[in-house]
C-alpha cells in the first residue's frame, strides 16, 4: 500500500444518500479474479448510457453527460463529497478498489456503512466523516466554484478549504498509522503470533468441539 501523503485535491460532489456498493461497482465486474482495473467501471450504470460488461472497451462507450463524474469541471477529482450512509450494502472490496483505481483518495460524507468504511483503509483510501451541516456547506462551495480543491492532511487530521476554513476530523490511531506508513495489517498482526497461539491453546481447552 502506498503511503498517504498530504495533498490538494479537486472535489467532485455526488449529491445522493445511501449510495450502495452495487452502484459503485455492479456485480458483473466482480467476476474478475484480480484486484486492479475496476476504475473504468466505477459507477458504471450511472456513468455510461449502455450496459457494461467485463472485457468491453470502456473508452468507446457512450457517457452519460448528466452524471457528475462525467462533467469536464470534475475531471481529475481526487476527493469525493457524498451524503449519508455512503457505501452501504454488499461487502465487496471491489468498491474501494474501483474508487481508488478511478483516482479518488478521500471520500467525505456525514456517515459511511461499516464494512465499506473498514475496506477503504485497507486500500489507501481515506473516508472522512464530517457533520452533516459541514458537508452541506462543502456541497454549496463546490458547486459555486469551478476548480474547488481541498487540502487533506491526515497527519494533522484536518481538511482545509481554499478560504482557510479548517475542518478537523477523527480517525482511529491504528488506521492512521497504517495509512501514513503504507502498512498492511497482516504483517503487523503476525508480530503477535505468540499471543494468537496462546489464545488458541486456551480456547481449545475451553471449547474442544471447535477443534474436533
Amino acid at each position: 500500500m502506498k503511503k498517504f501523503e498530504t495533498f490538494d485535491g479537486l472535489v467532485v460532489p455526488l449529491d445522493r444518500a445511501n449510495v450502495d456498493t452495487d452502484a459503485i461497482i455492479p456485480k458483473q465486474f466482480l467476476k474478475s479474479i484480480k484486484r486492479s482495473g475496476f476504475g473504468p467501471n466505477a459507477f458504471d450504470e450511472w456513468r455510461y448510457l449502455d450496459h457494461g460488461e467485463p472485457g468491453k472497451d470502456n473508452s468507446k462507450r457512450p457517457l452519460n453527460p448528466d452524471f457528475v463524474l462525467n462533467q469536464p469541471r470534475y475531471q481529475g477529482a481526487q476527493v469525493l463529497l457524498a451524503r449519508e450512509n455512503f457505501g452501504c450494502g454488499s461487502s465487496r472490496e471491489h468498491a474501494p478498489w474501483a474508487l481508488e483505481d478511478y483516482g479518488l483518495r478521500v471520500i467525505i460524507a456525514p456517515s459511511f456503512a461499516d464494512i465499506f468504511f473498514n475496506n477503504c483503509f485497507k486500500n489507501g483510501l481515506l473516508p472522512v466523516k464530517l457533520p452533516a451541516d459541514k458537508v452541506d456547506a462543502l456541497f454549496k462551495a463546490v458547486e459555486a466554484g469551478v476548480g474547488y480543491k481541498l487540502k487533506v492532511d491526515l497527519g494533522q487530521q484536518t481538511i482545509t478549504a481554499p478560504d482557510g476554513t479548517a475542518y478537523p476530523f477523527e480517525v482511529d490511531a491504528h488506521r492512521k498509522h497504517c495509512l501514513l506508513n503504507g502498512l498492511d495489517d497482516i504483517g503487523l498482526t503476525l508480530q503477535h503470533v505468540e499471543d494468537i497461539k496462546a489464545f488458541e491453546a486456551k480456547h481449545r481447552t475451553a471449547q474442544p468441539w471447535l477443534y474436533a
Binding site: 449529491d15 445522493r16 444518500a17 445511501n18 450502495d20 452495487d22 452502484a23 455492479p26 456485480k27 458483473q28 466482480l30 467476476k31 474478475s32 479474479i33 484480480k34 484486484r35 450504470e45 450496459h51 467485463p54 472485457g55 451524503r83 449519508e84 450512509n85 452501504c88 450494502g89 454488499s90 461487502s91 465487496r92 472490496e93 474501494p96 456517515s111 459511511f112 456503512a113 461499516d114 464494512i115 473498514n118 475496506n119 485497507k122 486500500n123 482511529d172 490511531a173 491504528h174 498492511d184 495489517d185 497482516i186 498482526t189 503476525l190 503477535h192 499471543d195 494468537i196 489464545f199 488458541e200 480456547h203 471449547q207 474442544p208 468441539w209 471447535l210 477443534y211 474436533a212
Partner: protein
Amino acid sequence: MSSKTLYDKLWDSHVVRQDADGTALIYIDRQLVHEVTSPQAFEGLKLAHRKPWRTASMLAVPDHNVPTTNRAAGIADPISRLQVETLDANCAEFGIVEFKMGDIRQGVVHVMGPEQGATLPGMTVVCGDSHTSTHGAFAALAHGIGTSEVEHVMATQCLVAKKSKAMLVKVEGKLGRGVTAKDIALAVIGKIGTAGGTGYAIEFAGAAIRDLSMEGRMTLCNMAIEAGARAGMVAADDTTVSYVKGRPFAPQGANWDKAVAYWKTLHSDDGAKFDATVELDASQIKPQVTWGTSPEMVTDINGRVPDPASAPDAVKRGDWERALQYMGLQANTPISEIKVDKVFIGSCTNGRIEDMREAAAIAKGKKVAANVKLAMVVPGSGLVKAQAEQEGLDKVFIDAGFEWRDPGCSMCLAMNDDRLEAGERCASTSNRNFEGRQGQGSRTHLVSPAMAAAAAIAGHFVDVREW
C-alpha cells in the same frame, strides 16, 4: 460480576489482545469462503508465501456464479467459470473442504453453513459477504468482511476490530397469520432506516423472536446488514440446540454435552446495558412490501407509494423522487395495485425449507397469473432442494407454473444468467432492492416468500392474510 449482553460475551471470549485505543485482535472460529471475494485473498497469501493458519476452520462453496438450470453443461460464461475453477484450485491447493457445484451439499454459503452445523453457538464467523450476519441467529458473532480481511483471517486466524455499540431490538407479542420473520426485518428497517444500525451489533429479542424457528431467525439476522448493522444475533435456546443436533459438523458425544452447557449461557444477562433499544409490537406488523430503491423505502400491503412532497427533508425528497422515477411508480398508488412481471423466491434470506413450504402453501392448486412472465423458485442448497422434493413441494410449484431451479444466489444479485431485463418489475424474497441489483434497470420489491408466491398467482401484490 456485572451484567453482560450476548454481544459482550461473544466479544470477550474472542479477544486475543487489545490496544489502549480499543483496537483488538479477535480470534475467528469459522471462515466461510465463496468464489467472488476469495481469489484476490488467496493470491495475496501466495504472493507473500503464506499459508492458511487453520484450514479446518474454513469451509468453501461456489454460489454467486453457479447456473440454476442445466448444471450438467457447466458454466457457460467463461469469466464466471474461471472464478469458480479458481476457487476449486485454491481449495485443492490448501486442502480446504469445498462443496463443489455437483455436490448435493452445495448451496448459498449462508444456507449451507448452518445446514452443515458448521455454524455453532458461541462462534465467531466471518465470510467475504455482507449477509454473514445470518449466522448470528445461532448466538454467534458473525459479520461480513472485505477481501483484505479474508486474507488477514486466512493468514492469522484473527481480525483487527473495534467493538461496536450494542442495540437491542425487542419484538414482543405474537405475529399474525401470514406475517413472517421477513416482515419483522423489513418493519425494523422501515423504523430505524438503512443506517439506523450503523456502528451497532443488533440483538433481536422478545417473545416474537423466541417464537421464531431457526429459519426465521436466520432471515431476520440476515437483514441486520440492511439496517446498517454488520452483525445481528439471537440468544441460544432449545430451538437453537435442537436445530444443531446431529448435523455433520456439530459436536458429538461428550463434547456435545459440554457444548450445550456452554451454549445455554449465550444470552444477555438480566440488567445488561444496551446503547440503544428499539421496540416493536409483533401483532401490529403487517406483510411488508418495499416500493423504492433502498430497503428502508418500505410500507405494508395496505399502504400506498408515498408522495415525495411529504418527505421529511430535501435530501430524502430527492431520493424518493429518484426512486419513484427509477421504479416507474406514481405517488399514492396503492401497493396492491402494483403488477409484477417476474417473481423470485430464494436467496440467503429466504431460500430455506420453511420458506419453500410457506410459498408452496400459497401456490398449491393455483396457477401463476398470465401477466407474470417468469416465476422461479431457487432452493438455497441441494439439501433444501432434496427435502422439498421429498415433501412434494417441487410438484406443487411446477403444477402452478413456477420454475423449479438448482441452488445458488441466482437472481438476488444476478451474477449468473438469472436476471431481470430493464424495466421489469419483480416480487423478490431477496434482501436488496438497489438500482440495478437484479439486472440493469431492474425494479425490485422485497417481500416474504408467501407474499411473493401470492403476487405470482394474483399478478399483483395481495394481502396473504386474506389468502
